[in-house]
Symmetry: C2
Subunit: 135 residues, 2 copies
């Protein structure tokens, strides 16, 4: 199977600058954003509704894919560790994972969600409904 | 940025057949597996240790990337809904997300983890340490 990701849409956010973005969606500074999906995927959004919790997957297009070790949270006082033992955006496949809630559905392909920490223009690659806690 | 995923390793599991695989890692039938990482990424595994909880990202290579609506959990008694309102493997970018725990580290590039529901040979695309619950 081809391993090329399809970009299904883009994040539209007031956060424009990577240096002012918080590191995680559960940190101060994360905001309400608009998710603009490609009309090609309209059918795939059926049954989404305000209040739904989602796992939102983004492609962190500003990340460095060659980085294998980082200072945790960019703190140079802490020793470097492997990127797979962190949530650094710099990693071989810079997939962002964010737990967000649907605030509103503006159009059949436009969702308002919160909270999100990524910058304006970040590509969206997947949306999954929140998992059931137990069977 | 190029949107081609790098395969960082493969799952080695006793589950060989997609029809016998459970649907989620928290369901009966999920097993202990071996993650064989490419030696190219050995440094990125630094600081991983037994007991660590991880978000494991796989590429569900048997999935249908053209599917936009599905019966939830394959149950034809339930009406079809958009794949973004489900966790079906069939979706434009078939990324699998699994919460697993490291049971043992066999070699610098081989992890034993549990529980996992995907079939033997499934490509691995990312590993992230479990997020902090709060700041």
């Amino acid at each position: 199977m081809d391993q090329t990701l399809k970009i299904i849409g883009y994040v539209r956010s007031e956060i424009k600058d990577i240096n002012s973005a918080p590191k995680m969606e559960n940190e101060p500074g994360a905001v309400q954003v608009r998710l603009e999906l490609d009309p090609e995927y309209m059918e795939a959004m059926d049954a989404l509704a305000p209040g739904c919790e989602l796992d939102l997957f983004t492609w962190l297009h500003k990340a460095d894919r060659s980085t294998l070790k980082v200072h945790p949270r960019g703190n140079k006082a802490l020793p470097k560790r492997g990127v797979f033992a962190t949530r650094s955006p710099d990693r071989p496949n810079p997939i962002g994972l964010h737990r967000v809630t649907i605030v509103a559905i503006e159009t059949p392909t436009t969702l308002i969600v919160a909270p999100l920490e990524v910058i304006d223009g970040t590509p969206i690659i997947d949306i999954k409904s929140k998992p059931n806690k137990t069977k």
